[in-house]
């Protein structure tokens, strides 16, 4: 049971890393996520049920996400629509596309086929099945994290970071910001779809409604992580995202397990997630205000003491 939280949290962390690219690194509120996570799940599920190998299915999920991101970036770059609206457009269109991919069904089960998790369980048969799932997921997520960290330390990755901080800088350096947005949003949604592909295999089905509210959940995870420690190093930022995702899934687990004691049902989870984001923002801003207030008090005290001395 407890392993389940960690596995779900780790899969979720891959998606949160995708959201980290758009929301924190590029500074674009990209809602494509709600569509592309389901696209990834659908593509992976259809590939696996069609008998393709699992790595190939995962690659296809990743690529399908990249395409979703490129569509959003194209709308944003060429029609000069704000990123938010471009993402909503793609997300809305993706709902129909996802139903098409799933063969006009809302739900495709992954029964009587081998998934990544059957792999882990047979490959790590000396471990109990739930532990094998956890170790397998952990290894995959860590590989993704390391690749992610390395990419954002390359010249290209640093440039994408610069774009989010200040578009003029990137232009001044002779780079076309549109190209960087294509790359950034493509990668972001690629990771999100990959996470969708992993999730479909873990829960044993792909669902067209899988993505509903995912952006907000991802933001909640990122913000929870940001409470843990302060850093500007990418490797620690991604670590923070992974920890935040696990904490988020842990909180949701507690809500499911003990929520009935205070009358909370799974129907309330979307509301609670939204409130969690709002509370995170309030706590973060009060922390800043508190620090400012303290600085002011210290300054006044210094002035008073200076007065005494004189």
């Amino acid at each position: 049971m407890l392993e389940g939280i960690f596995v779900e949290g780790l899969i979720f962390a891959v998606m949160a890393m995708g959201i980290l690219i758009s929301y924190r690194i590029l500074d674009i509120a990209d809602l494509t996520c709600d569509g592309s996570v389901a696209t990834g799940a659908a593509v992976a599920a259809m590939c696996i049920t069609a008998g393709w190998s699992i790595p190939l299915a995962m690659l296809m999920a990743f690529l399908s996400g990249i395409i979703c991101g490129l569509v959003t970036a194209a709308i944003h770059n060429h029609l000069h629509l704000p990123g938010l609206l471009a993402g909503i457009l793609t997300m809305t269109m993706l709902y129909s596309v996802n139903l098409r991919i799933l063969g006009n069904k809302a739900n495709v089960p992954l029964v009587r086929v081998n998934t990544m998790y059957d792999w882990f369980r047979s490959g790590l048969s000396f471990l109990p099945p739930s532990a094998a799932s956890l170790i397998g997921t952990l290894v995959i997520v860590l590989v993704i994290k390391v690749l992610f960290d390395l990419f954002f330390r390359t010249d290209l990755g640093v440039s994408i970071g610069a774009l989010g901080g200040n578009e003029q800088v990137v232009i001044s350096l002779g780079m076309n910001p549109s190209v960087l947005k294509y790359i950034g949003l493509g990668l972001s949604n690629g990771l999100i779809a990959l996470s969708g592909g992993m999730l479909a295999q873990y829960q044993g089905f792909a669902d067209a409604n899988l993505g509903q509210g995912m952006v907000v959940q991802g933001l909640a995870a990122i913000m929870l992580g940001e409470f843990l420690f302060r850093t500007n190093r990418i490797s620690l930022i991604t670590l923070r995202v992974i920890l935040g995702s696990i904490i988020y899934k842990g909180l949701m687990f507690l809500g499911r397990r003990y929520g009935y004691l205070v009358g909370i049902t799974p129907n309330d989870f979307k509301l609670l997630t939204g409130l969690l984001v709002i509370i995170s923002l309030i706590v973060a801003s009060t922390r800043t205000k508190f620090a400012e207030g303290k600085a002011r008090k210290d300054a006044v005290q210094r002035v008073m003491q200076g007065g005494k001395d004189a």
């Binding site: 390359t154 290209l156 990755g157 610069a162 003029q168 800088v169 350096l173 002779g174 076309n176």
Partner: protein, 264 residues
Amino acid sequence: MLDIKHVTKVFFPGTANEKVALEDINLHIDKGDVVSVIGSNGSGKSTLFNMIAGTFPVTAGTISLDGKDITHLPEYKRAFEIGRIFQDPTKGTSANMSIQDNLLLSMKKGMRGIRFSLTNEKKEMFRSLIEPVGLQNRLEDNVGLLSGGQRQALTLIMACLSNPKLLLLDEHTAALDPGNARIVMDLTEKAISDGQYTAIMITHNMQFAIEFGNKLIMMDEGKIILEVSGEEKKKLTVPDLIQRFKQIRNKDFASDEELLTEGD
């Protein structure tokens, strides 16, 4: 070097807000020239810079740099040869990145690949580059933590790292206090003489305009109304400049009055 021919810029053409920001500007700048541009608010100085840098397209006219027509080149492509520093210290650097990452990015122009360029030698080089500004121990700090003067000095260092053919300084000391403005100004003059850059600087500070460079341009209402260079510029003083500014502006007012009476 830089040739601006008959450049006109009209904002919002065909609407009630139509405004002629530049009117038939002709300007030639030789390699190694250092030009200061003065003029009141709304005289077209910044628009001229935006035209040279390519932020907005020109309405008519041509701009060429080193014999190459750049009139229709997008801003990011012109940036290969033109370095620009803005009045706003936050515009030239990326606040959410460390000083070393900012410096690393500015070492060359153009799209980047999947390569790790940050080596210990580069860090050493960066350290010596920013030592004159006293930042040598803060390579890993985010640029957002620096003061306006420090950021502007860093922007200057970054702009010069890629050896631009032309340096555009857009009132780059105007947002700083007098002390910091002087420091950044001295750094600018040193950088220009060390790198032998061609540079154009907009300023509201007439003293800076007189001290700086070998050429001075005064703009008013979208036109270049005064061009002084060489020996004549060396003899200029601030009262001189104000006198000439008033003379030319009075004449303008007079002609405006004529226009108005004619309308009646």
